[in-house]
């Protein structure tokens, strides 16, 4: 197979584009896709400071690398989740990348700062581990961005992540979630802008990017996520994609173009009644926010 752009031998085939790429042209392709998303959804404006949520996995490290290479002022934030060896190892990858690039990595350790880790905290709070983890991450990424005066939080959600979430939201016809599902969530009082610049890249592409660029990342999957529903959706979508390349992209981008504008109001309704949480000051519609509730139930269970 030859590279679509320069006819050199290809190292990666991307069937959805019906194309192969050599190493330099593939790196250029990835940067172009990210820059295109940033422009199309007005994700990051010139001169803005970005906080990248870095897990030590392929997506967040590829994102951080591409942002730095394209001249974005981007620091990393690593959250220690206390998932035994997995967290130790993923933290090492995040730190090693930051050192190699001379980039700034902010670290927050969940057990140290809040007195719980994901395995024990989720059990104590009677939440699924991925739910407690997602809630903790969303809250702490946002808080760290506000505390550090960052304009934007960037996460490594890729096309597969977004297509899988969309699939789940459609299966349940969850209009509030569908209304909120967009590559950029604008900032508002108490919320930093949140952006997903990798939505035009599949996770196979972000993994290939890391392999080709010599970025070491944690390959093993989080031990808490096995059997997770989200992974099941990804596998189902990949079955369709294998038979009909481009299906995931048309599913997701068709939604953004044609359906998202119709359901956006469902998310707006949820914003009514927001007030600052008495515990942490974050906007919430409940008496206390979901994160403070989690800390209340999970804290001290180490």
């Amino acid at each position: 197979m030859k590279c679509r752009s320069c006819r050199a031998p290809a190292v990666i085939d991307v069937r959805r584009h019906n194309a192969g790429f050599c190493h330099p042209c593939f790196v250029r392709h990835c940067r172009e896709q990210v820059e295109r998303s940033i422009r199309a959804y007005d994700m990051i404006r010139p001169g803005e400071r970005v906080l990248v949520a870095v897990s030590g996995g392929k997506d967040s490290l590829a994102l951080w690398d591409i942002l730095l290479d394209t001249g974005v002022d981007a620091d990393g934030l690593y959250l220690g989740l206390g998932i035994a060896d997995y967290s130790d190892e993923s933290g090492r990858y995040a730190r090693a990348y930051a050192t190699k690039r001379g980039a700034r990595l902010v670290e927050i350790d969940l057990p140290e700062a809040f007195g719980y880790d994901i395995p024990t905290g989720s059990a104590a709070a009677r939440r699924a581990p991925c739910s407690a983890c997602g809630l903790s991450k969303r809250h702490l990424f946002n808080q760290a961005a506000l505390d550090g005066s960052y304009d934007v939080v960037a996460t490594g959600h890729n096309l597969d992540d977004e297509a899988a979430v969309l699939f789940g939201n459609v299966l349940r016809w969850d209009l509030a979630y569908l209304g909120r599902q967009y590559p950029v969530l604008p900032g508002s009082h108490g919320f930093a802008r949140k952006v997903k610049p990798l939505v035009r890249l599949s996770e196979r592409e972000t993994a290939a990017y890391c392999v080709l660029q010599g970025i070491d990342y944690i390959v093993d999957e989080c031990p808490m996520s096995s059997g997770n529903r989200h992974i099941g959706y990804k596998e189902a979508l990949n079955e369709i994609e294998a038979r009909s390349p481009g299906s995931k992209a048309s599913f997701y981008f068709g939604f953004l173009e044609r359906v998202s504008p119709l359901v956006a109001s469902a998310a707006e309704e949820e914003k009514e009644g927001l007030h600052p949480c008495p515990g942490c000051g974050s906007p919430t519609v409940s008496e206390i926010c979901a994160f403070c509730k989690l800390v209340e139930r999970a804290g001290g269970h180490l």
């Binding site: 392929k58 997506d59 739910s131 079955e239």
Partner: protein, 66 residues
């Protein structure tokens, strides 16, 4: 050839030469969900892998709430 697989981690010994896409079919692995790295180099589906190669089939699916 030595074939290294993950989730669970295991090693297989299979005869070559064989094209990467045929190898994945034989292993019943969806090509959308993996990268194939032959002797340390990323390769495309039409690459022929010879008998002496070491092939890593690296999953790319990550999950959970991120």
């Amino acid at each position: 050839m030595r074939v290294l697989l993950r989730n669970p981690s295991r090693e297989l010994d299979l005869p070559g030469p064989i094209a990467v896409s045929a190898l994945l079919e034989r292993l019943d692995v969806n090509r959308e969900s993996v990268l194939v790295i032959v002797d340390g180099t990323l390769v495309t589906g039409d690459t022929s892998v010879d008998d002496t190669a070491t092939v890593e089939v690296r999953p790319v699916i990550s999950g959970g709430a991120r």
